[in-house]
Amino acid sequence: MMGDGIIIASALAYMGLLFGIAYYGDQRADAGRSIIANPYIYTLSLAIYCTAWTFYGSVGLAAVSGVDFLPVYLGPTLMAVLFWFVLRRIVRITKVHRITSIADFIGSRYGKSGLLAGMVTLIVMLGILPYISIQLKAIAASFSLLRQYPEVSRLAISTQHPVWMDTTFFVALVLIVFTILFGTRHIDNTERHEGMVAAVAFESMFKLLAFMLVGVVVTFMLFDGPGDLFQHAAEHPDLAPLLRFEVVPGGYGGWLSLTFLSMMAFLFLPRQFQVLVVENVNEAHIRKAIWLFPLYLFAINLFVLPIALGGRLMFNNGDVDADTFVLALPMAEHMPMLALLVFLGGLSAAASMIMFETVTLSTMVCNDLVMPILLRANPRWLAGQTDLSGLLLGIRRVGIVILILLGYLYFRFVSESYALVTSGLVSFAAAAQFAPPILIGLFWKRANRRGALIGLSGGFLVWAYTLLLPAMARSGWIGTDFVDTGLLGLELLKPYALFGLKNLDPYMHSVFWSMLLNIGGLVFGSMLSQPDPLEQVQGSQFVDILKRERHDGDSLLWRGVVETAELYDLLSRFLGPQRATEAFDRYAHDHGGYPLQADSRLIHYTERLLAGAIGAASARVMISSIVMGEVLSIEEVMTILDESTQVLEYSRRLEQKSGELEAASAELREANNRLRELDRLKDEFISTVTHELRTPLTSIRAFSEILLANPDMEVEQRSKFLSIIVKESERLTRLINQVLDMAKIDSGRIEWHMDEIDLRTLIQDAINSTSQLFCDKAVALHEELGDAPVIIDGDHDRLTQVIINLLSNAVKFCPEQGGKVTIRLQPSSNRWRIEVIDNGPGIASDQHKLIFEKFHQVSNAHAGKPKGTGLGLPISQRIVEYHNGRIWVESETGKGAMFIVELPGTL
């Protein structure tokens, strides 16, 4: 009799040792000196694949079905051969995209779909329960057996007892405590658990040694080597068939499907994905694991059949459950220490699986299920929290408790009656559902979210209907009618013979139908729907992951991936289609064509072309907006909680930026044209002003020089010349003043003094100041100004200037004899109207608008050249327009002219 105390104490001590290793591993990891950063630890950690199923169940299966236990290890061996093609891609992607779990991986691949990630999490939760349950069952069974020591007998466990007396329940509780201690001490942003990996590596070594020790004892101590053992078996009528293939249920087909299932499960069980991918510290470790891990599997399987046959030979009466042979044989041989060692090996195999699986799963539940729901339900509260790590830890701990308890419930109500391996295979089939979306998604860019959703849900439903529900029904959990007669009594819907497909074992049957729906849904769903841009981006990033090689030198600026067509589109947006086509043709000519997928050289070429049009910096921004490369730091974006919207927002902003840049460059071109036009006008203006200034200056200089050179000139001629000089000087002064006025008005720097003014007095003043002109040319002035004052808002001096200008113009154009000017002030609807009328030569109608342009002068053959500056009318026009008024001329050639000013004002 081995005391409960000893067993429990050694179990706790062993768990404590594991915990110590884990703690040490975490410490070292925090200090930056990882103890798991070598290929051997990596390989050993992969051996978490070998759970209690392997440790106890393989022997149990071999004792009944012979060689049937092997595909579960041959599958992973074959998968290891493919590591370099498959696993390396997945690891690279995971590192680049900072992926934290298998749900995250699938969600990311298909356009960062939260829905898909949540769905994966749900499938994993349901699918993994049978697996957890068999670990609990194994621990409880081995414990119950060992405490009977040295007696060995078949024990019925648990169901007879209420929950609180059930050993398994307490095992579950202890595991919950340890799991929480191990896995949720703190939150790590990479979701890596170096300490746990170190502990797993240790227990992998431990369980291998324990199992092999038993194998050696059985083969060489109980029997005289393998030859003797097999000899005994071959002679035993019940055991002889176990040495042939015929005992394998499902035959070769079942064998093949089992191999396939375990290949997939090895990669895609959540804990496997965790140790293989997420916990991988260096891609190079994969290389060693390719052959080292199969070697581990080979070693742990070497003695399965000897132990199974030995057990059958030793416990011939069938009193002992074959699933416990590994433990029962040392007990029967009275080897308590070995028995204890085996118990601990089995315990650690089971416990490490449960702990790693539930930690991984609780992370997925937290990140992909609970947090998204919380985010959606109460984003404001969540945003207000500065530190969410406490909440995250809480969610994960609750998740661990619930998962292990659910596993316990499944054990108690469903799997109790099943052998270990049978229940485990249900979980394998669930994990295999992730193979199509991941593997096809790794190599086929077109695979999109809709396809993945259809495929995954189809595969999952078939799995649940053909494996999970029948298992529950067989255990009496739900009615068995649908299993025997099909759902709704329809033969075609029998879960083990869907659509009449008989003669397959349940697993192969389920694998066939679920994979058919899964792959079919993925492929056809993808082909019949269009992926959105983010899905396309993610798809091509995942598929092309190995093309984005790292270089130490910076010789290649662009490491990204982009379709040549996209580059062309970008280029033609800035250069125009014609130039873009020419450029690409030139490239094709120089380099012998261009690839569909632009290489760095073509990207660089395009960048430089763009740089020519919009500058180097902008070109880089533009290129980086379409090139999926290092430039777009995906890591930064990934850290933000609601990543998909962030990424969308980011690309949308880049898109917008590209549009803005394009618009800006168009605007710039237009502004440039306008500037050039303005420049031309300014040039013209200066040229004209210069001309106008030089003309009086020419006369002044010429006459001054003449006077200087001829001191003895006649007095009469001299005074004539001198008066010309004076007049031209005045003209020059006037011109300069008006040019300055014009410049001030045009540039808006003129000061306006708006006030209430009386138009009538204003006109009167203007008449007074021009009276001398009228006298000189003997022009008669006729006034019609009314009697009452006319009050408006305006600038007194400027308006006076306008009236004087109009009056002097009128005088200027009056005939030498009989000149007559009329000035009139009268209301016109809502406005005041000032008319200045002369009886001069008039102005041709095609000149009516031109005379208001700067320096435009009306030439007149009869009157000779008028002595204007060409600025009077343009200045007047601007002054009037400032007062919200209007100035124009009405005239016909030979019939005089009438200038009209209209100013707003109440009557």
Binding site: T77, A80, R244, W255, I290, P294, R550, H551, A583, R586
Partner: protein, 97 residues
């Protein structure tokens, strides 16, 4: 890993799948026991072991070759980060068009 190694691995995988499945497997489903071990088991474990040995040869040899090659060419790339064979990513910086 060089192109050649990739080919070896592909061939190895196909051979492995063929070797452990029907009909090859059926050839060894006999009641004969070489060295006292039933032929079926003998064959399966032997095939498994041979597969591992060949795997070691392919993987480790390619590593050696890759190391010496990178040493010869003075390549700056990290050991272990190999790239698909024939990947033209070592070409010169793009010249002017």
């Amino acid at each position: 890993m060089r192109q050649q190694s990739r080919e070896y691995i592909t061939i190895l995988f196909i051979c492995g799948v063929l070797a452990i499945n029907y009909p090859v497997l059926d050839l060894f489903n006999r009641s004969w026991a070489p060295l006292g071990i039933p032929l079926l088991y003998f064959y399966l474990y032997l095939a498994w072991f041979v597969l591992i040995v060949v795997l070691i040869m392919v993987v480790e040899r390619s590593e050696i070759r890759e190391l010496t090659e990178s040493h010869k060419s003075g390549a700056t790339r990290t050991k272990g980060f190999s790239r698909p064979g024939g990947d033209p990513d070592t070409h010169e910086p793009p010249e002017s068009p």
